[in-house]
Point group: C2
């Protein structure tokens, strides 16, 4: 009885082997594209070409009875490797006249990444770590770019020491809060200043499509080359004021990290049975549990500093706790109508975003389900 | 200068067209596998074959300079379509002697799905909806299987009416809470009883790898065929006691839905700028925002009923609010050392799961990033 299946499975294996060959060929071609782009200084992320190409493949797939979403997902996944491989060929040097760059805290995780990308772009880069300050005067006196990449709680104190930079040196930081560091940079240095916030962790394989928020300090025409350089790396540069940025971060970082932390504290307090929770989880709950659990694989100091960075964060957290308390009261009063009315008000407030989020999360949950391993069962 | 790129892009397009052809061929082969499996009553999800096949392809990929994770992700994504396509060929009828099945609430979303799957498996299925009760005596008097698939708040009252089922009829429900419905079924019916909780929504494309929790009522040898039938659909059946199930659901459903709801209420209360939050989001925050926003695209009544289903849920929510309050106090006292100590206790409590969750979420966040569209920018 297993004969007909064996034959079919053999044919499927052959198709899959051809798939491996095809992917190898595609990665090779993309590597060559990377070389050409690097030579001509073209950005590695070309959204229009990407959109046009995907539309064409979707159409062809449809004509051949292949679900269009399947080919799009497969190509998008493959392009991730392409972006990472385009990295290796290096990038055009936008500012060949730069004397050299110094990354302060360039031994840290995110600092290292900037060191690597600048070097791949043909710049000479020096690293100034916390034990290197005896070399600081020497290193900084001729720098053309200084990037401050130290932990958030020592950022402003570190910046305050940078009073002897050359007048034409670009001073930048990559801290997750912007108002304080930007003011400190403007106070310490009279030349061009720009605050950066890379919205990603150090473990990305490529800058392609990653967002970097930036806040103008002064001298935009003098630091424009740095913005262009990061665009060539594939990043999407998002200009914002330091104040608007920091306000958004009270939600995006402080409140989010705090609620994940508090949820973890509660799970531990009730001594939840994680193994059983996972057995009984839908993909969506497994994902939410993972989003909480991942926090606790990381550095507590970092999260303490981000959450306690400023009083606005604590105010936001306080008002969240109060608002949650109101919702608890509603439930304890058994007020189902009140719950539904409040729910509907929020739905209205979300507007079209609720449907967009439904669609987005559905696609992602399917992907989570695709890679379900059940490694715990065996 | 665009000439060399045009030529390379043309070659990439050719590779991608071959990719579409290969996927078409694979789907066709898998369709044939489905026919053979259906004929022989083999489960559509074969974890061992899948694991062996993926290991082989990973090895081949490695030898050809293709990242092994790339081929695994591409194949897993493709298998999703395969499972969905294997559905269409129908399933073996495990219990050909069944007179017929009745799905009460078979017009509802999840009810419809069970109607479809039972029919694809060769059973006669009748639907009893809330306006059909005048036909109930007739329909139920000869039923061999009755599945209760009505909204949670009328489940027990509906079950209480099922006192005249044939002695050999299997009675099951698919409510998200298990103790109450199971007791009600045992009280109403003297024959075989099993409580089911499908851990997924009605929008799945296949039962493959989906979890269904089940709680024995009585007469397991008489309802075993139903368990086997669902395994053939590809589902993973997880036996549990009603009490353990319901305890886990206070966390997996009630507290989770409540915290998403409360977060949405708070975002609306502070009138957050969703557009800007998205612009400045890392993939992880966009995902978390999506997990909250998706709730508000759905039915408030359903969530009210799930959250208010029993006093244990409210107790859990109450204790979460208290525990969150303790964490707020810690922060307001500026007690960084206390925060770090508490964080470390929770890390220890999560144990190896923290690293597992870190790895899992990283893979998923990369997938989220792959499909980043920036549809809002244009």
């Amino acid at each position: 009885m297993s004969h007909p299946l064996d034959n079919l499975r053999h044919q499927i294996d052959e198709v899959d082997q051809q798939l491996v060959d095809l992917l190898a060929r595609r990665l090779d071609l993309v590597h060559k594209v990377g070389e050409v782009k690097s030579e001509h200084g073209l950005p590695i992320y070309a959204p229009d070409r990407e959109a046009a190409m995907l539309a064409k493949r979707r159409e062809e797939a449809e004509n051949k009875g292949v679900p269009p979403d399947l080919i799009e997902d497969v190509l998008r996944r493959t392009m991730r490797e392409s972006y990472a491989s385009e990295n290796d060929t290096g990038f055009k040097t936008v500012n060949p006249d730069l004397r050299y760059a110094v990354v302060i805290g360039g031994g840290g995780q995110l600092g290292k990444l900037f060191v690597k990308m600048l070097r791949l772009s043909g710049y000479r880069v020096e690293i100034l770590d916390k034990d290197d300050w005896h070399k600081a005067d020497d290193l900084l006196s001729q720098a053309g770019l200084v990037i401050v990449a130290v932990p958030i709680e020592v950022t402003e104190a570190t910046i305050a020491k940078l009073t002897q930079l050359p007048q034409d040196c670009v001073l930048a930081d990559i801290t997750s809060t912007k108002s304080g560091p930007l003011q400190a940079m403007l106070a310490a240095h009279a030349g061009p200043v720009v605050g950066l916030h890379p919205m990603f962790g150090p473990d990305i394989s490529s800058f392609a499509k990653q967002v970097i928020a930036y806040c103008d300090g002064r001298g935009s025409e003098q630091y424009q080359w740095l913005i262009t350089q990061m665009q060539i790396w594939g990043a999407r540069l998002y200009p914002t004021s330091a104040q608007a940025h920091d306000e958004a971060m009270t939600l995006i970082q402080a409140l989010r990290h705090f609620t994940s932390y508090a949820y973890g504290v509660h799970l531990a307090a009730v001594d939840a049975d994680v193994k059983q929770l996972l057995e009984l989880s839908s993909p969506i709950y497994r994902l939410e549990l993972a989003m909480v659990g991942r926090l606790f694989a990381q550095d507590p100091e970092l999260y303490a500093d981000i959450i306690m960075a400023n009083p606005d964060n604590l105010n936001m957290i306080h008002s969240y706790h109060d608002s949650l308390g109101e919702s608890v009261k509603l439930l304890e009063a058994g007020d189902k109508a009140g719950f539904v009315a409040s729910f509907n008000r929020v739905s209205e407030w979300f507007g079209d975003y609720a449907q967009l989020f439904m669609k987005e999360s559905k696609a992602l949950l399917q992907q989570a389900h695709d890679s379900r391993h059940y490694q715990d069962d065996k």
